[in-house]
């Protein structure tokens, strides 16, 4: 098939390639069914963006797009690009505004039967404990700028030192909850101001805290290692670096716009503004981005701890009886220094994941000892009525996608259309009829995030499962949700 002057070839089941053409420095590869590809061709922008990413200086192997690809800004959402650490560029557009937006899964010892009668009270407690909505703040005491800088440097261990969670939790967070190059001197006063009162807040939009039940196990051996069993109650948290991260991204897009000119980088979209990784601008961005990543890990750490408190208060049981444990925490908006095999040689690259999840295989040194035999857990949320998935990274992902996989369902309807569709409907009642209790600050957010607004995440997860990139372990069904 053809897209403008670009040829698109089906090179394997559910894998399309756009060969290097014109200004592209590498081919682009998109994981999609033929039917999905038809929709992408009609939509145009996501494919155009994957082609644009293939023009980033120093890009290695391919510009990649996962099956949840959709129109983003600069990179497509679902985009992955690895650039050479010495000769390539870093692009804030390949990370996004919500730096280290990610997902965290915690287990409990409770089962659906034990929770059902208290679900409404639990959701109330959670809603009153975890601030949600635009401008949500003060989950914990407002931090001084000096204290916030300590948090930015120390990563999630800061939250643990303050009593939010256990030291052991760090083993189950990507990068152990801390990017070491964080330098608060690279962060603006305004970013610090925005971060001071937002640690432990969920925010709005597609961010959520869900009480799920383990609905189906696909891989019982891996589920046992993860501590998952059928009908178990678990907690899924999706949020990021809040206004702090948005500000860091915005600040550095200006810096990168000038850097692109300074270093004579020819980029097809302003939002792909970049600088060489090794330039002062590139290094400064990486140090500021690391601060935002560390902020997000603290945010999810504090929220998880607040959620545990809400469970304890609701059920009046001891922490030992609750058995609240972090299973894993993944990032899906980040750029990181990683080593991958390129042309048979280990090569250091800057892997940009914009709406894509790291999916490292069994035996990889960067995954927890406990998961060495099964691989890195990958958490893929769906919409608030259907299901989410727990998967595992594979060696195939290392070979084909720089150790990356999909990150979610992808929207089917624009927010505007979803709101229109929600008019005159009692969405909370509809969701409750499907067995999902929802509490939200605003009904507009519930309408924007209604299940019909999203594609079926199972379609996305199955492509990656069947391609051997990330394999399914368990399916989670929502029982209750809090949102902005």
């Amino acid at each position: 098939m053809q897209f403008d002057s670009f040829q698109i070839n089906l090179i394997a089941e559910n894998l399309f390639e756009i060969p290097r053409t014109g200004p592209m420095l590498q081919p682009a590869r998109i994981y999609a069914t033929p039917q999905m590809m038809q929709s992408l061709l009609a939509e145009k922008e996501p494919i155009r963006q994957a082609i644009h990413v293939a023009q980033l200086p120093g890009i290695q192997k391919y510009s990649l797009a996962m099956p949840d690809i959709h129109w983003g800004y600069g990179f497509p959402i679902g985009g992955v690009a690895a650039t050479d650490w010495q000769e390539g560029v870093i692009s804030p557009g390949g990370v996004g505004y919500d730096i280290n937006c990610g997902v965290r899964l915690a287990s409990t010892s409770l089962t659906t039967e034990g929770v059902k009668a208290h679900l409404s009270s639990l959701i109330n407690h959670l809603f009153n404990t975890v601030p949600t909505g635009v401008g949500s703040s003060n989950a914990i005491k407002k931090l001084s700028k000096q204290e916030l800088k300590k948090l930015l440097i120390r990563g999630a261990s800061w939250a643990i030192e303050q009593g939010y969670g256990l030291r052991n939790d760090l083993d189950f967070i990507e990068e152990n909850g801390c990017l070491p190059d964080a330098n608060p001197d690279r962060v603006s006063e305004r970013a610090l101001e925005r971060g001071q009162s937002q640690v432990g807040t969920l925010g709005s939009g597609n961010h959520f805290l869900e009480i799920d039940r383990v609905d189906k196990i696909f891989d019982s051996r891996a589920a046992a290692v993860l501590g998952l069993f059928e009908d178990q109650v678990v907690v899924l948290i999706h949020t990021g670096s809040r206004g702090f991260g948005y500000q860091v991204c915005d600040d550095y897009l200006k810096v990168m716009g000038r850097a692109a000119e300074k270093y004579h980088l020819h980029l097809p979209d302003r939002q792909l503004a970049s600088a060489p990784v090794q330039s002062p601008e590139g290094q400064q961005y990486l140090q500021a981005m690391a601060c935002a990543a560390n902020f997000a890990w603290n945010n999810r750490q504090v929220i998880m701890s607040l959620a545990e408190d809400a469970f304890l208060r609701t059920f009046g049981i001891s922490p030992a009886e609750l058995g609240f444990h972090l299973i894993y925490d993944v990032s899906h908006n980040i750029a990181k220094k990683e080593t991958h095999r390129i042309d048979g040689k280990p090569t250091t690259v800057c892997v940009h994941r914009k709406g894509a999840t790291r999916a490292f295989p069994p035996g990889h040194p960067q995954i927890p000892t406990k998961y060495q035999t099964i691989g890195q857990p990958v958490l893929i949320p769906g919409d608030m009525a259907r299901y989410s998935f727990v998967c595992l990274g594979t060696e195939r992902a290392m070979e084909e996608t720089f150790g990356s996989t999909c990150h979610g369902a992808g929207r089917l309807l624009s927010r505007h259309k979803a709101k229109k569709l929600g008019r005159g409907r009692n969405l909370l009642k509809e969701l409750s009829g499907k067995g999902v209790l929802v509490q939200a600050r605003g009904m507009a957010t519930v309408a924007e995030e209604m299940p019909e607004a999203y594609k079926d995440v199972a379609d996305v997860v199955d492509i990656m499962h069947n391609s051997g990139i990330s394999t399914k372990v368990a399916r989670l069904k929502p029982l209750g949700v809090i949102k902005g």
């Binding site: 800004y73 909505g133 949500s136 305004r190 939009g205 500000q247 716009g257 503004a273 927010r415």
Partner: protein, 146 residues
């Protein structure tokens, strides 16, 4: 055929929000851009206010100035809980090294409760942002990250 006047038009964007904006002057393009952003947040905009706020910004390019202006308005909403509207005066001038904006607008307080219920706009992006002169004035595409 291109309509004359100042207006914004929501275009179909599945994940985020995008507008085509046209105006007879650069100043009006900025005002329309602000109105497009507010349309994502508020069903009704406040009437005139006795309280006024002045903004002064400078940037390296006109596109950067537009993003800075809109992100400033967003920052005031989400952090300072204030909406700047109506825009009473907006002036853009350029020097050799930069482009400057001066704006005077009405200033209204938003309650934390109302703020929490708004659609969250994470930022104004540079994606497809290219302010062009047309026969009838100025045009740009504007994409917001939601």
């Amino acid at each position: 055929m291109e309509k004359s006047g100042n207006y914004f038009h929501l275009i179909n964007h599945t994940a985020d929000a995008a507008f085509d904006i046209r105006a007879d002057s650069l100043e009006n393009l900025f005002t329309e851009a602000a109105k497009s952003m507010y349309s994502l947040l508020f069903e009704e905009l406040p009437a005139s206010s006795s309280q006024k706020t002045d903004l002064a910004l400078s940037a390296y390019s006109v596109e950067e100035l537009l993003v800075s202006f809109l992100n400033e308005l967003l920052y005031l909403i989400s952090v300072k809980k204030r909406i700047l509207y109506p825009i009473i005066l907006l002036k853009i001038d350029s020097t050799e090294k930069s482009i400057r904006l001066n704006c005077r607008a009405g200033s209204h307080k938003i309650s934390a409760r109302k703020l929490a219920r708004l659609t969250e706009i994470k930022a104004v992006t540079y994606h497809q942002l290219n302010i062009k002169r047309t026969d009838k004035g100025f045009y740009t595409r504007l994409v917001f990250d939601l």
